[in-house]
Symmetry: C2
Subunit: 374 residues, 2 copies
């Protein structure tokens, strides 16, 4: 392997000079420069980034922790992130907690060992907030609270809930089923700082529907990593629905068993919505007349489902932009206060470092799975 030393020798200069030329830094006479450049060319010299990394204490890589790329939501997110990070000269290190059976702890360990410069955390974690805050290296959270020194970027899920509620109310929905992850997600741990993002959506939506007197219920699926599990869950749901419909005699009266109006709206992620369209067709239901369907995320499934989906779109580009900006901040920060001065730093901690929360607006994109509203 040809190194700087070889170039220096060939050009008859010192390695320092070669370094200056390679980095276009400092002052080098034109004569020296051209001598060095020629030598580099002749030897086909390529700088070894490993050495720079060691010196600078940087790798230029950001780990992006997601459950799995198999879910279109995370694929879209990572795609946007990679583009944004690249603008900051940062590479994207894919850190999946489900695709490889590697827990986030492994990735955090790598962060500690300087195999990456920072982590963007977009997967569920069972670790408590102080695990994350005590890492002492750059971490930024997507869509979850990881402790009050760690910046968060998230979509405005409350707004999402309001937008969907508005659509459902105005279109005359009477019985809504929300399909989401395991019910345990709603568990309020300590200060209500659940790490599950979608919960805010369902909660807001539920409140609004209550206010409008619209019946609603929640159906729990498996974890987000199990895409096929969603398909199965939605399948079962429709089997149940169609039983209750046919059981109650009066389909067109709009009232099923025991005076309960039949389910006429399904909301959930894009995956849920896409599966719901399929199942509705399979059960001979007309979408949106018999049942409205509203997805959440705005992934490629919007166009690939049986009907163009009405969805809440998360603004992936803006989210990625903010996440990238935050991690760049964190990486460049002096990040002192970890070393010996543990005692006195604790004092100012609370007051000092209440990390920012960026909330990115969402939008409703109307497709063919909802009825028009006035």
């Amino acid at each position: 392997m040809v190194g700087m030393r070889d170039v220096a020798k060939k050009a008859g200069v010192s390695v320092s000079t070669v370094s200056l030329v390679v980095n276009a830094s400092g002052y080098v006479s034109d004569e020296m420069r051209s001598k060095v450049e020629r030598a580099m060319r002749e030897l086909d010299y390529i700088p070894n980034e490993l050495a720079r990394n060691l010196y600078r204490g940087r790798t230029g890589m950001i780990g992006v922790i997601v459950p799995t790329l198999r879910h279109p939501f995370f694929a879209t997110l990572v795609s946007a992130l990679q583009g944004r990070l690249a603008k900051h000269e940062l590479q994207t290190l894919l850190c999946s907690t489900a695709d490889a059976d590697t827990g986030e702890a492994e990735y955090v360990s790598r962060l500690r060992r300087h195999m990456m410069d920072g982590i963007i955390m977009a997967a569920h974690t069972d670790h408590p907030a102080d695990y994350w805050t005590s890492i002492g290296r750059p971490v930024v959270a997507f869509d979850r609270a990881l402790g009050d020194t760690i910046a968060t970027v998230r979509s405005d899920h409350e707004q999402g809930g309001r937008l969907v509620a508005e659509q459902l109310v105005k279109s005359g929905a009477r019985h809504v089923v929300m399909v989401g992850g395991p019910r345990s997600q709603f568990d309020d741990r300590g200060e209500g700082a659940t790490t599950f993002p979608t919960v805010r959506y369902f909660q807001t939506l539920g409140e609004r529907l209550d206010a409008a007197g619209i019946r609603h219920e929640y159906v729990a699926c498996g974890p987000v990593t199990d895409v096929e599990g969603y398909a199965r869950a939605v399948h079962l749901l429709f089997d149940r629905l169609s039983e209750s419909r046919s059981g109650g005699s009066a389909r067109d009266s709009g009232v099923g068993d025991a005076g309960i109006p039949p389910v006429d709206a399904i909301v959930g992620s894009d995956v849920v919505a896409a599966c719901a369209v399929k199942e509705a067709f399979a059960h001979g239901l007309n979408v949106p007349r018999d049942v409205q369907i509203i997805g959440y995320d705005g992934t490629c499934l919007v166009d690939c489902a049986g009907l163009t989906l009405t969805v809440i779109k998360q603004d992936f580009d803006t989210i990625a932009e903010r996440l990238a900006a935050r991690i760049v901040d964190a990486v460049n920060e002096p990040e002192g206060r970890e070393s010996k001065d543990g005692e006195d730093s604790k004092a100012g901690k609370e007051s000092n470092n209440a990390a920012a929360v960026d909330i990115v607006p969402v939008s409703l994109r109307t497709g063919d799975t909802t009825r028009p509203v006035a």
Copy 2:
């Protein structure tokens, strides 16, 4: 930052000894070991991987070049790859040529500068084979030929073509439309070593349909990166089809204008198939009675489309396994023959290094978009 030196000082030993303990290599007396371990614990010592990287000349990262993660095919592929690479202690560096506007040359440059140990190339490239073979660092190709020193792993697309042809013939198809990428993909450059994988599929399928006397045509879309472009193309296709259907009087006679049987089968990627299901519904066509639809890949879209898709499944796990094995081989290879001895190495090149081509079987998964066959 606490380094080995600090640990050594605290433990009253040399850095060499600390190193031996950290790496569990060589012989260290129990006494020394425990002294060192205690010091490490008390100082919360964490080894810095950057230094190791420099010494070893390795980063433990493999760049995976794909066009975009937004296409479910590549998301699935990368997901599988990440899992496999992790088993070899390798991290996955996401290298997208479309999501960031970074050409593959940039990633190759990074490979040269030792920012990664190897590259798995799964995106289209305009660079000729000798560009790739002259890199002199580990590269493995997915689904394309990159020159005869570079190992390739690909699905058996010819088998895919045969399986689909069989399905279509047996189910009585009469007029098949294949929807794929730009027609330029079929250009035969030099030795027929096109870098576009799907071409083999369409070609084999076309030949078989010809042999069976089944009419077929090819509709070209934009590049694979433009997922929405596929949706538009399929939309236009159906508009055209339904015109010709309604134009020709005799829909049920099965013969349209000018005695041409109406299109009764659409084949393409999963994305194409999913869109086709949607459009078929929108145009009042019954799937699979009026038109059969067959996808290719076997991504999550199989379950998310309007009907469960009949598809050719690529075996992502096996593909990932082979790719990982090949890149590990390439990274560990002595990889001599690049340096000064250019002249005499050329002699034995052809005979020596005809790199392997792993061909992974595909399978037909029958869904609800095709008619049953005997």
